[in-house]
């Protein structure tokens, strides 16, 4: 049976269309979820897309965290539902305490928009199991508040537990501590990534097809997961 992957639209989401398209290209059925509807409609996994939910008011992701759909997603994620937060989605996952740390203003204060090399460091997550350890991928980055920060103890714990999923290579675009571009929770089902894999799934529109691996990984994970 075709896996069903939900893509949430918040007021101010930008990349929900591209995320749904990436899900489809990877071979799954995208299911559009609405921020105000707590029902996940039986999806097997969820993508929180990039954008500026609630206008980035207060802090990026701070208000989205309280959307009705997020209350259900937080519970389901704690129960093992695969969740990928991209850019604003990563910020929302941190605000919802599904991932540690926070994303702050880029150190140089400039919005960064470029194709970025990443090194995949953890291939045991639900969203990266089709990559090779240490594989370098090319994926667009576009953010103004992508500087990952956490206290030293948290950073050391992430490193020790192999929960740094990807790091920036060839220049850190936002000042993120320890060049962190993506992290995961202890169980490996929740991943937050600042660059945009959904923009690298087709030759016509992306710099590579490397982003597709995140979406095919979750399909592989779902096939292997107990029902």
């Amino acid at each position: 049976m075709t896996a069903r992957v939900g893509v949430v639209t918040f007021p101010g989401s930008l990349d929900d269309g591209d995320a749904a398209r990436a899900v489809r290209i990877a071979g799954a059925e995208p299911v559009r979820l609405w921020h105000g509807d707590p029902d996940l409609h039986g999806v097997d996994a969820v993508v929180l897309p990039g954008g500026f939910s609630y206008g980035d008011y207060l802090r990026c992701g701070a208000i989205a965290r309280f959307a009705p759909v997020m209350e259900t997603i937080v519970d389901a994620a704690r129960g093992g539902l695969p969740v990928l937060g991209i850019c604003n989605g990563f910020q929302i996952l941190c605000e919802a305490h599904l991932l540690p740390g926070a994303l702050t203003r880029n150190q140089h204060l400039h919005f960064r928009n470029r194709d970025q090399v990443l090194r995949i460091e953890s291939v045991s997550t639900a969203w990266t199991n089709t990559f090779q350890p240490g594989q370098e991928v090319l994926i667009p980055v576009k953010n103004g508040e992508g500087c990952y920060v956490a206290d030293t103890a948290t950073l050391d714990q992430l490193e020790a537990e192999g929960r740094v999923v990807a790091r920036y290579v060839g220049g850190n675009p936002n000042g993120s501590q320890r060049d962190i571009a993506a992290i995961t929770n202890a169980a490996g089902n929740v991943v937050g990534i600042m660059p945009h894999p959904e923009h690298a799934v087709e030759e016509l529109t992306g710099p590579s097809l490397d982003g597709l691996g995140f979406f095919t990984s979750v399909l592989k994970h779902l096939v292997g997961a107990p029902a």
Binding site: A62, E95, D151
Partner: protein, 87 residues
């Protein structure tokens, strides 16, 4: 009616690039004796009834501040000290 004022500041160990940008602009005003600038946020809360500091603290902890990167303080002020009164 008194209001509750919540001041939210980045923790001292968190880099404040906005504050740095402002500090770097000050020499252009001819100001040379400022060592550093930190930028925060002030939120004024008006309750429908009596101001509730404990409730304000809860609001600040859950929504207004992100305790991972920010500290906050909560205090009561009289209405004539608030932004409305000054405008």
């Amino acid at each position: 009616m008194p209001r509750v004022v919540v001041d939210v500041m980045l923790k001292p160990e968190i880099l404040d690039p906005q504050g740095q940008a402002v500090a770097n602009a000050l020499p252009r005003l001819g100001v040379g004796d400022v060592a550093s600038v930190r930028i925060g946020r002030r939120i004024e809360i008006e309750f429908t009834g009596e101001p509730d500091l404990d409730r304000a603290r809860e609001i600040a902890d859950k929504l207004l501040a992100n305790p991972v990167i920010e500290d906050f303080t909560v205090r009561l002020v009289e209405a004539d000290e608030t932004a409305d009164a000054r405008s």
